[in-house]
């Protein structure tokens, strides 16, 4: 079987090879398409990560509040629901069921729905890490906060959360890498991210191996980049003398 990398330079409509490999005047080549698909993958992932971090930190925190049974229960239910339903099923729920309940969401694009689905799905996992991060701190820290007259909010803001975040950076790294991988499920609702591109370009050109190799390469590059960035963050925020043992890596 011979390689045919030239197909990436072909126009997606008339399949003629374009000079310079990029389309002009609104025409696009497969290379153009793949790069834009990569852009969609990155956008879906980063927005979902943002949502997941916000929701995950809130939910994880309220699961550790002292003397508040109901927030703990709500947090636990949240985690169990989003953790025990497959992501693909959740995406279908957001796509088919939620807009039927909230008609205002009918006009939302598949992109927004996928960000919501992936963000909430991941929030449950981040909430679990935030909770265990807070609970891993010595009890004395909470008591010390109370002893200096902090309110519960201040105790979390200035004592518990800053320490907990540093503990959970390694699992957050792998969660960030998971988000990029999980964003591939967006193909199911026709968001033109990398996996969708792979399926469609494979079908149109018949050059499956080349297309898949390129897409797989982009996924690996993305994963590697995140890993480097997070390792850098971890080094920057480390409290001298308080480094968590064995915190390096984080696959």
């Amino acid at each position: 079987m011979a390689w045919d990398w030239q197909m990436f330079c072909e126009d997606t409509l008339d399949r003629t090879v374009r000079e310079g490999c990029f389309g002009k005047d609104g025409d696009i080549t497969y290379l153009d398409w793949m790069l834009s698909a990569w852009g969609w993958t990155v956008s879906v992932s980063l927005l979902a990560l943002l949502l997941a971090l916000v929701a995950g930190v809130v939910i994880g925190t309220i699961r550790t509040l002292p003397d508040s049974k109901w927030t703990v229960r709500f947090g636990n239910a949240w985690v169990e629901v989003f953790r025990n339903i497959p992501l693909l099923v959740q995406i279908f729920l957001w796509y088919h069921v939620v807009p039927a309940i909230f008609p205002a969401m009918k006009s939302m694009s598949g992109f927004v729905l996928v960000v919501l689905a992936l963000g909430f799905f991941t929030s449950a996992r981040i909430a679990e890490q935030v909770r265990s991060g807070i609970q891993a701190l010595p009890r004395g820290q909470r008591h010390a906060g109370m002893a200096v007259g902090f309110t519960t909010w201040q105790t979390y803001r200035y004592v518990l959360l800053p320490n907990a975040f540093r503990i959970i950076i390694p699992p957050l790294t792998s969660e960030t890498m998971n988000i990029f991988k999980n964003s591939s499920v967006a193909f199911a609702v026709s968001v033109t991210e990398l996996t969708m591109f792979a399926m469609q370009a494979q079908e149109e050109t018949g050059r499956g191996v080349e297309v898949y190799l390129a897409v797989t390469g982009l996924y690996i590059v993305s994963a590697f980049t995140i890993n480097r960035i997070m390792t850098f963050v971890e080094k920057r925020v480390r409290v001298p003398g308080l480094a968590a043992p064995g915190a390096a890596g984080g696959h």
Binding site: E80, I85, L88, M177, V185, A188, M199, Y212, I220
Partner: protein, 223 residues
Amino acid sequence: MNLSFDFSFYSWDLVSNFILKGLYFSVMLTLVATLGGIFFGTLLAMMRLSGRKWLIVPATIYVDGMRSIPLVMVILWFFLLVPLLIGAPIGAEASATVTFIAFEAAYFSEIMRAGIQSIPRGQVFAGQALGMTYGQNMRLIVLPQAFRNMLPVLLTQTIILFQDTSLVYAIGAYDMLKGFEVAGKNYGRPIEAFIAAAVVYFVICYSLSWLVKRLHKKIAIIH
């Protein structure tokens, strides 16, 4: 789109015509991929811990490679490559089975590696002192304890695996989710179908993870 919620959608006909076949495939795929994945995963873990470079390097590349690619892409890859390699068309279901064994082996190998490393070195030395070969040491001393220590994690991975089987949607294999989707299309009731799918997956996964939690408390070895 129908506005009202139609409870008559949920009937025995739905279950027997659409769901059971899919559920059977999902469960079988989970079991086969778990057993196959643990078998090959253990081999990969032993390769990585062998101390021999020519075994460590390929095993590491394989495991890290698999773990950095989305499962959907792996499913597509195998669906494309397996027929090319064996020179005959292969069904989506068979392709999915091969894919999941290969993919899960990478994840199970990380669990087994941690399990093997959790056994104190002294036990291996004790085995060697008794004149045991590497194989005997692994089979009689290290692996049984590694499995026991890692059993809750292995089972948790199996629950994740069960959820992941829904991704065979990408190549059109008929699993439980597909069953619900087809039924929803046939009756024009996608909302009822996907809600039911979510409930069934939730009940199965939640009960299993509850059982794993209980098991974890029961078998934990006190150090």
